[in-house]
Amino acid sequence: MNIDVKQYTRADFQSNQEVRWCPGCGDYTILASVQTFLAELGIDREKHVFISGIGCSSRFPYYMNTYGMHSIHGRAPAIASGVAAANPDLTVWVITGDGDALSIGGNHLIHALRRNINLKILLFNNQIYGLTKGQYSPTSEQGKRTKTSPMGSIDYPFNPVSLALGAEATFVARTLDMDRKHTAEILAAAAEHRGTAFIEFYQNCNVFNDKAFIELTSRETRDDNRVYLDHGKPILFGPDNEFGIRIGPTGAEIVEVSKVGIDSIQVHNAKDPEPGVAFALSRLSRGPHGPTPLGIFRDVERPVYEDLLVGQIEEAQAQKGTGDLADLLRSTGTWTTN
């Protein structure tokens, strides 16, 4: 993103529509974080486009005083790809939910990631279908009782970070709705990244899946469970950083720093060209239970789809000149009658 600082306040990014989420919903916090961040970022407001699918979270664009489209269920990454390809000068955001992105929209998501189109994808993972009032989603834990799984869900959930890494994503991060400071850091890094940036937000749905992330948010347990990944720093956690992560021949494991020594602890390298370690880190948790990595798993450079697309057009024009219609019509040979 081309950062050309303007003087904005959060209010400049608030639309005139009343925000219509349930009181207490985690979506409010993320909305505030994003609006505040954009004001700071300072990119011209008219350059931002928010594309969403369908779901509670997908109402987001209505509340942003930017260009936006509340599209159809699951298709936001495809539509946003068209916006970005058509006009690479825009800053295109995708707002989506766990059902929208991972259930009906799974295919568009993984293809956007592999193409590395310049989209910032914010996935609001509340582990439930909120808008349709409480059915299990592809991130709901097995055994979860919901309206469509009265005896417990029998679907094994996706780990969105693992899935994204398996789909060749160049930027993958995870954060928490209520952790506004961390959210701001992650948003800044995502905006900085050229290519598809994928951010999983753990977002509380206090109506249909309250406290899903309580282990990460309650005062009593959060220090035990938030494992922050900071590029260039050893991965430590616990109230006194007494635990750490080590990478060994079986993947990533939690170790006590005092036992293994600080040198065995993995120094986080989000820029590792290979996603192997990032993937191993993503396996530390199955959903937000127990120690759970938060932060940027991966942030690497790879040619961006739009750049390649525009590059080919420029190359073709350099070779053949900008197209001439009359020539085109004659390009397969003509004959003349009189």
Binding site: S15, Q17, D44, R45, E46, K47, H48, V49, I51, I54, P61, Y62, M64, N65, T66, Y67, G68, M69, H70, S71, I72, R75, A78, I79, A80, S81, G82, V83, A84, A85, A86, N87, D89, L90, N107, H108, H111, L309, Q312, I313, E315, A316, Q317, Q319, K320, G321, T322, G323, L325, A326, L328, L329, R330, T332, G333, T334, W335, T336, T337, N338
Partner: protein, 624 residues
């Protein structure tokens, strides 16, 4: 060896005014290529022509079987012809299966040229022949000439550097050379094409050239081939012509439409037979600034196009029936967003996967009604390969003027067949430049759902425009502001406004041209690719003294304002369609009249004869 020298050796050819030739062989035999090149040199020579390729199915059948036969038919004439011909005058059969599969279509007394080398026991058995038709006298109604094409090709290729199994790949050029001899076609265009395609120094180029000349020379020297023919250049209206196939013309129509609208062109598409070559053609035209996005599926194809339209491109998506089905939900979104979008459906035989390489017109009612909710769309149809260019431009005009998706119906026959097209003067093409909204339209506010009083179109303000930030979406929206709205009256109003906007396009449709005997009590009413067969059938019937009128409808929704008048007072309205009577059903509902439906669902276009026969029958009935 240059081709020019040979022509001296020609006996004087018999002048004929038209001929229908079919090249037939195994899918691996390169018959499409031979046919296309024969067509190209005929085009260069100045004949009028029409072609009909026929592929077995998407995948190779075992070599030598009937299922594996591929053919290419071309009709060349010295006058303005319309169809690829009903019954070939000449068949080139590269193997027994090709003979067997095509024999029943031939004119009595037709010329058959066979590759005798392929008539061995194994191939005869594979084709299901119990005895060799070349020997058992079963072909006595025809004029059969044989050539040992494989042996001669092998010989010709000695020294070209091409060896082994690859040698036989050139035998289609042998056949082409021989046919060029027989029908007095110049070799030069083919020679040029070979050199350009394979590169001067490529042994394959040398091999194909050698085979081509060997075939030609075989005509000179071999017995039986001395009676040659010539079709003189057609007296087409003065002008510059190219030989165009429908999908290429459609692709070019998109480029021209984008130019006329002054917009960059974006195509979001997923390959599907028989639409793929539009994507392939546009992928080649990057220097026009065309962006092609090969999406992961049809939904993403149309989705990316909706995104590109929102961002201010002329957005299109190309597909066939199964893909149109997948796009339905997104088209309904585009409809309510009121963004321009060109949805091109190159129809093929359904239902489901059906017969992907075969033609059908059975997506008409799907195009009309194939969306949930009240979501009427303009539907425009293409009548022939050459018509594709202007029909596509017309779709672009409607889409951008009325801010709406448009469905453009083509089909597999139009897609792959070709005809001469008199090139328009680019300067004379219509233009309809789009003006994006850049200023607030309501005090200092921008209301995205205000409407132009005349067209009812909403303004198009694209991301990047300062001050016009706004949101659109699939929920019902408030008249004017576009904000989400659930009020009962607003929904009624918006539904009616959207319908009225589409209906208003009717005023913008040019008058119907009625051909033939305009006031006849018999009207043949067609749409789409039935054009050429109907026109030819009607011509023939009229030549035989029948009085018949013909109208081909381009705008299927809304229907032309004068269609009611055109239908008025006819005794019989015949609607030939490659479906079960879908347009006939639309006409019934619209005008409360009962047309006579002539339905053909065989994966093949109408023959002119079939139309004429229907007309004869109708005349008999009326008069009896």
């Amino acid at each position: 060896m240059s081709s020019d020298t040979e022509t001296d050796a020609r006996p004087t050819p018999e002048k004929i005014d038209r001929v229908v030739i079919r090249f037939a062989g195994d899918s691996g035999d390169g018959m499409q290529l031979a046919g296309t090149q024969f067509t190209a040199s005929s085009a260069m020579f100045g004949n009028d022509l029409a072609t009909l390729p026929n592929f077995p199915s998407e995948i190779r059948a075992p070599a030598g079987t009937i299922a594996g036969v591929s053919s290419f038919q071309v009709h060349i004439a010295d006058w303005d012809i319309l169809t690829p011909g009903d019954h070939p005058d000449c068949l080139i059969a590269m193997n027994p299966a090709a003979l067997k599969a095509n024999l029943h279509d031939l004119k009595p007394g037709a010329l058959i040229i066979v590759n005798v080398d392929a008539f061995n026991e194994r191939n005869l058995a594979k084709a299901g022949y119990e005895s060799n038709p070349l020997e058992d006298d079963s072909l006595r109604a025809y004029h059969v000439l044989t050539a040992p094409m494989e042996e001669l090709t092998k010989k010709a290729l000695v020294g070209t550097g091409v060896k082994g199994r690859a040698v036989l790949r050139s035998k289609n050029f042998f056949a082409l050379g021989l046919m060029s001899w027989m029908y007095s076609r110049p070799l030069k265009p083919v020679e040029q094409w070979i050199t350009k395609k394979f590169g001067e120094d490529n042994p394959v180029a040398a091999a194909n050239l050698a085979a081509l000349h060997a075939g030609y020379n075989y005509g000179i020297t071999a017995e039986g081939f001395h009676h040659t023919f010539e079709v003189e250049p057609a007296a087409l209206p003065k002008g510059e012509y190219t030989n165009i196939s429908g999908n290429i013309a459609t692709a070019w129509g998109l480029i021209a439409g984008a130019r006329a609208a002054n917009l960059p062109l974006f195509l979001g598409s997923y390959p599907i037979t028989p639409a793929t070559s539009i994507l392939e053609e546009l992928a080649k035209q990057k220097h026009f600034g065309v962006k092609t996005f090969q999406a992961e599926d049809e939904i993403a194809g149309v989705g990316s196009a909706v995104g590109a339209a929102f961002a201010g491109n002329l957005a299109a998506t190309t597909t066939s029936g199964p893909g149109l089905a997948l796009k339905s939900e997104t088209i309904s979104l585009a409809f309510t967003l009121e963004l321009p979008l060109i949805v091109i459906d190159v129809q093929r035989a359904g239902p489901s996967t059906g017969m992907p390489t075969k033609v059908e017109q059975s997506d008409l009612l799907f195009a009309m009604y194939g969306r949930h909710g009240e979501a009427p769309l303009p539907v425009v149809s293409i009548a022939s390969p050459a018509d594709a260019f202007s029909a596509t431009m017309e779709a672009v005009r409607i889409a951008t003027k009325y801010m709406t998706p448009v469905i453009l119906l083509s089909d597999g026959y139009i897609a792959n067949s070709s005809e001469p097209w008199k090139l328009p003067d680019v300067a004379d093409l219509p233009t309809f430049p789009v003006t994006f909204t850049t200023e607030p339209n309501h005090g200092d506010e921008f209301l995205p759902y205000t409407r132009d009083p005349e067209t009812l179109a909403r303004p198009w303000a694209i991301p990047g425009t300062p001050g016009l930030e706004h949101r659109v979406g699939g929920l019902e929206k408030h008249d004017g502001t576009g904000n989400v709205a659930y009020e009962p009256d607003n929904h009624q109003l918006m539904t009616e406004l959207r319908a009225a906007k589409i209906d208003a396009i009717r005023k913008d449709i040019p008058p119907i041209k009625v051909h033939g005997d305009a006031d006849s009590k018999i009207l043949v009413l067609g749409w789409g690719s039935t054009f050429s067969a109907i026109r030819a059938g009607v011509l023939n019937a009229r030549r035989n003294g029948r009085s018949v009128a013909h109208a081909q409808i381009r705008h299927l929704n809304p229907l032309p304002p004068d269609l009611g008048d055109v239908l008025e007072g006819r005794e019989v309205i015949l609607i030939p369609e490659l479906n079960n009577g879908q347009f006939a059903r639309m006409i019934r509902a619209e005008y409360l009249i009962a047309p006579r439906s002539f339905a053909k669902i065989q994966g093949e276009p109408f023959k002119a004869d079939e139309i004429e026969e229907q007309l004869n029958e109708i005349c008999r009935e009326i008069n009896s």
